[in-house]
Amino acid sequence: MICSAPDPDTLAPVVRLSLASQDWRTAAEMAAALGWRWAGIWGDPGPEACLVRACLVHDDQRVLLETRVPWSDPVLDSHARCYPAADRMERHAQDLLGITFRDHPNGHRWTRHQAWREQDHPLAPDFPVHGHGPKRTPADTDYPFVRIQGSGVYEIPVGPVHAGIIEPGHFRFQAVGEEVLRLETRLGYVHKGIEKIAVGTEPAALARLAGRVSGDATVVHAWAACQAMERATDHGVPARALHLRALLAERERIANHLGDIGAICNDVGFAFVHMQCARLREQWQRRNHQLFGHRLLMDVVAPGGLACDLPAEGEGLLRADHERLRRDVEPIFAIVDDHPSLDDRLLGTGRLSREDARMLGCTGYVAKASGLGFDLRRDQAYPPYDHLRVKVPELREGDVASRVRVRMEEIHASLDLLDQLLDRLPPGEVASDLPRPAPDAQGIGLIEGWRGEIMTYVRFDQTGRIARFFPRDPSWFLWPALERLIHDNIVPDFPVCNKSVNGSYSGHDL
C-alpha cells in the first residue's frame, strides 16, 4: 500500500495518513482485523476534488485516513462491509456531497428525503444555500424499508411525530405477537443544513451554531468546535477557562443523566423516581441560570475561552450543591438499584453485546455498559482532564439496567471531578482573543460529551471565516445500536430501551 504522512502536526493529536483511493478499503480491512474502532467519515469539498477523511481509533491512538476523490469520477470504496458503523455516515456523505460508495451494502439515500433532488448535493460549492425555490416539500413516502414476510408478521410504523415531547424520527417495527423481529429507524427529519449554513460564519457565530447541534449537549459541542478552532490557530486558552469548561461539561452530564434516569423509570411506570430526579435536575438548572446566566449553559463556551466567569460566590455555592446532591441521590439511587418492579422490567431488557457495541462504534454509557470502557477524558485526555483522576464505570451485561447503573456511577464520578476542578481552579482571565487563522488552517476537536465521544472538524477559508464544519455526534453509532438491542424484546419495552440509549436526532440529522 502506498501512503504518506502529510505534515503530521496540522491535525494533532490525530495522525494523518494519505492514501491512494484504491487502497481506501484495504486500509479499513487491516484496521478492522486489528480491532480498531471506526469513528466517522466526512468530505471536504474543493473545486476539483473532495478530500474524504475517515477516522480510526485504538486505545490512545487516532488515525485519519485521507484520500482525494475527483469530481470527474466521484466514486470511493465503501468501508461499510468491514465496519457496519460506516453505513449511514457514508450515505450522509453520498446525499450531501455526491460521492458514490462502491459496494455499499445499502446504497439508498439517508439524510435526503424530498427537500432536494437526487442529482443535487447541498455541500457542493455551487449549490445555493437557499436551494432551488420555496416549493412545498412533500412527505417522504417511498423509502425502501426492509419488510419481513411470513405468517403472523405485521408492521408497526411510528412517527415522525411521536406521542410525547420528543424529537421527530420514524421507527418501522416488524413484529410477531409482541416480539420485535426487526426495527429500522428512518432519520433525517430535523436536517437543518447545519454543515451548509456554517460556511462563511465567524468563529463566534460558529460556536453558537455548534451549541445548537444538539441542545442537550450544548456545552460539549460548543467546546469541541472551539477546541478545533483553537488548535487550527494554535491558540492557548487560559487555564481557568479550560477548568470552567470542564466544570460546565460535568454539570451538563449530571443534568442529563438525572433527567434520563428518571425518564427510564417513568417509561416502566415508576413515576416516583421520575419526579424525584426532575426535582434535582430543576435545582441544578436553576443554579446554572444563577451562576452562568443560562439554564442549559448555552453560549457560555466561546472561542478563546468563556463568555462569563464564575462569580465570586459561585465556588461556595457549588461545593454545597455537590455535597447536597450526593446526599439527595443516595436514597433515590438505592431504590433504583434494588426495587423488584424495576428489576423486573430493566434487568435483561435491551441487551447489547460487547461485540456488537464494538462493531457499531459505540462510545459513552452505551459502550461502558457493554464492557467497553473507553473515555476520552481518561484514555486520550485533553486539558484539564490530563491532570485529573477520571473514574470510568464499566459493566458487562449491556442491558437497560446496566446503562442506568453506569449513569448513576457517572453522576458520582462527575461530582468527584467537579470538586477536583474547584480545588485546582486557577485564577486569571477566562477570555482571550482567537488570533486570525492562517488561510486553510484546520483543526479537530475531541471532547467526551455525556453521550460519548464528539469529534468536530473545522477548516477556515482564506479570510478567517469557516470553510467547513463537521460535528460528529456519538448518536451516529447509538441509533444502529438501538436497532440491534431491541431484537427479541417486546414492543412495549421499546420506549424504555430507546430512553436508555437516548440518541440525539438533531445531532445526527444535522
Binding site: 445555493p128 415531547i165 426532575a278 442549559l296 448555552m298 436514597p331
Partner: protein, 171 residues
Amino acid sequence: MLRILRQIGRTGVLTEAPPATDDAALEAAGIELRRTLSSRFRGSFAIRHVDAGSCNGCELEIHALNNPYYDLERFGVHFVASPRHADGLLITGPVSRHMETALRRTWRAMPAPKIAISAGECACTGGMFGVSYASCGRADNVIPIDVRIPGCPPTPTRLLQGILAAIGDQR
C-alpha cells in the same frame, strides 16, 4: 415501599411552597391561567407538541413544565398524545423541510377551535437556521401562529406565561 414513602415524606410538596422570586411570577401567571381557562375551555386545555426541527433545547424546558416545581397540570393544562385530542399546538424549532408536511398534517388533524403557539427563537423567527434548502424558517411560514414565546430556549416560566397569552388572545 417504606423507603419510597419515607423519601416522599422527606421531599414534601415542593409545588405549593416554591422558592425564589421567579416562582412568584409563575404563581401569578398560573392563577390567571386557571381563571381564563375555566371560562374558555372549562378548566381543561390539551396541548399537542410537535418538534419541527428543534435542537432539543426547547423540549428539555417543556419537559420541565411537568416537574414538581411548575406542575403544569394543576392549571388544567396537559400534554396529549394525539392531535385529535388537542386544543393547542405547541411548535418548536425552525420548520425543517423534511418536517413541513408532517407539521401541516398534524395541524389539519386538530379539531377547531384550535390555537397554534410557537415556542423558542427558531419557531418564532427562524433563529440562526432561518430559511435555507433544508429549513422553512419560522413556524408562521407553514401554519398560522397565534402566539409566540421567544427565548433560546424559553424558560418554563416564560412558556407558562406564553400559554396564558395563547388563551387570552382568543377572547
